[in-house]
Amino acid sequence: MYYKFSGFTQKLTGSAPTAAYSPQGLRPGVPAESPAMIFATPTKVVSEAGSMVEYLGANRVPDLQRLFQTSDGIPIHLKRGVPDRLLYRTTMALTVGGALYCLVALYFAAQPRNK
């Protein structure tokens, strides 16, 4: 069995006799027959794993593009339907209510304080 230090990590790995680590520069003689070296199956690289592997969820952009490009005349801020409408109505309620509350508060704040 021959060994060398792997290029980047400098970990001990199996090696062919001719590439083996020989610090004293003595080239080992080629053995009559070297045993077959079996290494653990390397982990699969994602790019080789096929199209079904996904990282943190699948791509839903094409579906969303289809949804938002339907020509139904609905403006962008309501295009998703119910959740958009709910949020819009809440925001509008706060806007109108808030504006009125503000005017009332400022009216009272503007009253002179009688000592």
Partner: protein, 261 residues
Amino acid sequence: MAHQAHAYHMVDPSPWPLTGAVAALLMTSGLAIWFHFHSTTLMGLGMALLLLTMYQWWRDIIREGTFQGHHTPPVQKGLRYGMILFITSEVFFFLGFFWAFYHSSLAPTPELGGCWPPTGITPLDPFEVPLLNTAVLLASGVTVTWAHHSIMEGERKQAIQSLALTILLGFYFTFLQAMEYYEAPFTIADGVYGATFFVATGFHGLHVIIGSTFLAICLLRQIQYHFTSEHHFGFEAAAWYWHFVDVVWLFLYISIYWWGS
């Protein structure tokens, strides 16, 4: 869209400019009401409305760009101009606070003891946490550049990891700065030293939080496949803003923390 004979974006009518304007009215009036009548209701209402406006307005922009394809090259150019001009306006904003600092520190008045730092002020050691903060932000500048290159090269996992690391570094900076604020031997009320220190670094900290939030949105979008290797302006805008925040810190560190100590 199929029906227009030009490459520009004619936006759908939108309620968000109105709600945003009302939010500004409520926040400013609410501030006055808080000061004079000790009630935070109006201001809180304004802040809630502001958050709702920001969320829905920017959500709509994402829909218009990523899902409807309205962000053609000329439109994107306009968005780039817009972001550059906005960041330039922020530069001028900070310039004012630096002006204030240099005005007071270059010619310290007799009331301060004729010296800077003023008599009685023990400034923070610039080579302790502030130096760490500098390293953290510089490192985050590297990671955000790494994220950009990952996006351009179509490396999904690396882009997500480097962007997440950038955001973590941003949070780490905010945490460290919060600790510094808590432990500082002087306050904002400690004369012009305290005032210039906390107003300048405080606004900077706010911008770090805003920048981290912008980057976090970009992380969510990257995970959801919004960015392509050719078209990812939202991320570029966030990265520009982040570099701006980093540069402001460098000026703060050199001027206030180091020269001013």
